[in-house]
């Protein structure tokens, strides 16, 4: 499965990972951190996962076969680390207390308040963002991963399949179920 370069970032990254690892970190760290944060909702845990991700990428750089893009390869590592972290956290009951209280809806105001919408429309959109966030948090692990990779990271189905190790049809199924659940939650708030 070979993915063409989809952005300027892909062309900047050299073929040999170890040669310019600093560039790799600078380009992809925000993306990996964002996915980990959206999945775990814990800044400390997201930071740990991000660091682990690049540590493993550095250690395994010799095994990168270029059968997928650099971004997809890193996201594959991140997805595995997030999954491991979720499993470990089941036994860390005190960890729930440290989950971040802030929500994307808090940041939504900046992008929504562009002056083009009425205050009522802005409030409604902010409410919908909060509802999607809440619904995404209640999704099963795989559905949530697929949902976030598609609608936050803007990855296509083949990239998601490569990053998660699922077949493309399975990704579609999870995405359909996730969207149905999120839409059902939104329908109730609209």
């Amino acid at each position: 499965m070979a993915f063409p370069a989809t952005s300027e970032m892909e062309r900047v990254v050299p073929a040999d990972v170890a040669q310019d690892f600093e560039t790799l970190v600078r380009l992809y760290r925000p993306k990996v951190f964002r996915f980990a944060l959206a999945s775990l909702r814990d800044v400390d845990a997201a930071e740990t996962v991000t660091q682990d991700c690049f540590l493993r990428a550095y250690q395994a750089s010799g095994r990168f076969r270029q059968d997928c893009s650099m971004q997809t390869w890193l996201m594959q590592i991140a997805v595995n680390l997030v999954r491991d972290h979720c499993r470990n956290r089941r036994f860390q009951f005190w960890k729930r207390a440290s989950l971040t209280a802030a929500q994307p809806a808090d940041a939504a105001g900046r992008s929504i308040a562009d002056g083009a919408r009425s205050p009522e429309a802005q409030a409604l959109l902010k409410e919908r963002v909060a509802a999607i966030w809440e619904a995404a948090g209640k999704l099963p692990e795989r559905q949530r991963t697929v949902f976030l990779l598609r609608f936050v990271e803007d990855m296509d189905l083949m990239e998601i399949a490569c990053a998660t190790g699922m077949k493309e049809g399975t990704v579609k199924t999870h995405l359909f179920r996730a969207l149905r659940a999120v839409r059902a939650r939104l329908g109730g708030t609209a």
Binding site: F21, E22, V25, R26, R29, P30, F33, R34, L37, A38, V43, D44, A45, A46, E47, T48, T50, Q51, D52, F54, L55, Y58, Q92, W94, K95, S98, T100, A102, Q103, P104, A105, D106, A107, A108, R110, S111, I112, L125, R128, V129, I132, W133, F151, V152, D154, R183, L186, G187, G188, A190
Partner: protein, 108 residues
């Protein structure tokens, strides 16, 4: 209660994407050091440190009950001095108060 149209749902998802990205940048500001090279793993989070401290405290408390009280390193030496004193007292031919008289008897 009405259902969203596809257009509204698409718009909400787009706004969700923007909001998560902005929120993530906010959260990362205090965490990410721009330009850091090879990442350094952080081994202990705050909760792990707290858990480790609690475990160590519990081990110390248990150890204070389980491990027997130590009597001191110089105990055998003290015992030897005491036995020596007893030996000296027992081996005397006369009590210490009568020892001057014993000397006179020997001289005569």
């Amino acid at each position: 209660m009405r259902h969203l149209t596809s257009e509204e749902f698409r718009e909400a998802l787009g706004e969700f994407r923007c909001a998560v990205r902005a929120w993530s940048e906010d959260q990362a500001q205090g965490v990410i050091a721009i330009g850091s090279a090879v990442p350094q793993r952080r081994f202990w989070t705050a909760s792990q440190q707290l858990a480790l401290a609690l475990v160590l405290a519990a081990v110390c408390i248990l150890a204070s009950f389980v491990v027997p009280r130590h009597t001191g390193d110089n105990a055998p030496a003290n015992d030897a001095v005491l036995l020596n004193q007893v030996d000296v007292q027992v081996s005397r031919t006369a009590p210490s108060s009568l020892e001057p008289l014993m000397k006179l008897v020997v001289q005569e």
